[in-house]
Symmetry: C2
Subunit: 299 residues, 2 copies
Amino acid sequence: MSNVTPDWIAVDWGTSNMRAWAMSASGTVLAEARSDKGMGELARDEFELELLRTVGDWISGPMTVVACGMVGSRQGWVEAPYASVPCPALPDGLARAPVQNPDLQVHVIPGIKQTDPADVMRGEETQIAGFLARNKNWDGVICLPGTHTKWVHVSADEVVSFQTFMTGELFATISEHTVLRHSLATEGWDDDAFSNAVEEAMARPERLAARLFSLRADGLLNDLSAVSARARLSGLLIGAELAAAKPYWLGQQIAVIGASGISKRYVDALALLHAPATQVQASAITVAGLTAAYQRLKG
Amino acid sequence: MSNVTPDWIAVDWGTSNMRAWAMSASGTVLAEARSDKGMGELARDEFELELLRTVGDWISGPMTVVACGMVGSRQGWVEAPYASVPCPALPDGLARAPVQNPDLQVHVIPGIKQTDPADVMRGEETQIAGFLARNKNWDGVICLPGTHTKWVHVSADEVVSFQTFMTGELFATISEHTVLRHSLATEGWDDDAFSNAVEEAMARPERLAARLFSLRADGLLNDLSAVSARARLSGLLIGAELAAAKPYWLGQQIAVIGASGISKRYVDALALLHAPATQVQASAITVAGLTAAYQRLKG
């Protein structure tokens, strides 16, 4: 039997995997667990079993679970309907997931939607709430890089507006599924190639589809290395995104919340544009957001 | 035994398939054949066998074959080195492919390269040559839509400069391999959605990655249909390309050479921008270009 006896359990359950933390009431992490069964692989009645399989040895009596992410989507454990902007990052009204185990109470945090331009987030709202819990009265713009990068305008503790860019998914799909897969390294980095590409893309963002093919042609004709081509592709895509997101970041306080590698690329690119940004580690902030939701539930 | 007795054989051998035409000396098509063995599937010593398997019953004595396309790449039957711009669409110096059969002479048309910005074409040069053979003293811009769309500036019977856009491959890979695959129909069309997207992309081309995600969000929140989303994706990508290619097409005579469906989209999009373009059927033009190469060889 486990010697971890949490007061509650925090869960971040996304499309492709799940992370859970055994928590004290005050928000200290006691233990951590993971599963590679994401929402995408589970039917509605399989979530409870997977949760118990992953964290069952933390549970020896009544237990509160607070979860965020795609677990709350229509295809998830329970649909937690979107709140509409402007709204607090943690809107009222957690959804209760259906469970068999009488000791278990599972609360799911709603996502946030915006009607015009149409946009949705699910999971990022909890990171924003965690960031705001740690940075009281912070106004500015939060960038959350990932498969679908979000730019979020925050003011007076509310999410005012946001915009999602498919940049991360474009990078992955272009790298894996187009003719450029022959020209791109799967790892390695070239700072100069990245910086030059960011600046070119900012200056003439419409040339993206032409510059993509030039990665191939520069490899064939000018010996562009596969590592430089990879950094250049990243710079072209992030540069085009920054050109479009300029109304968000220009003249604003900026925080970048995400995995360290991709976050550093955004911070570096913003620095080239004379826009200093603070880099924030994602998983600690997610736990802080789940803790804020738990404390409101219990308060 | 076949009753077709051509004077020569024209071949367009691309990455994914091959087309061949039994030809009279004057350029009349007597018969046609196809193979689904493209350059991508064949080792160097397999091309001759595949050619004979496909058109062997047209051959009863010495036979000249003129071929264009990826068959002339480094991974093809024989490398036909690129000519450099500015140059005629049919540069001098056909490459001779190695053959076992003493009756067979196979000539491969070189591609064209440009050093700065780096770019290459292979196959399109033959279509351009065919178009110019039928339209003497034509100056202007030729657009060749496809997986990798080319814009080519032609003057005084020479290719002056060109630029390749990965638009077609982006459309295919985004449709098949990203989250948008859930939001896009695989066929069907919506003219208004296409036109609006072209105009939006022309006006703010840098917003591409954000507009892509909006196809998903508009489906979730605003009931955007999968058919409209497909037409909108095409419009966004073609619109961004036309924004970047504007220095090519603005104020120029324009010919669009390609398959009829995709060519019509480019002609429609150019019409929205008050740039009338002539649509030209691709395969007849390819045969005309191969014929021009044959006649020069024999002349």
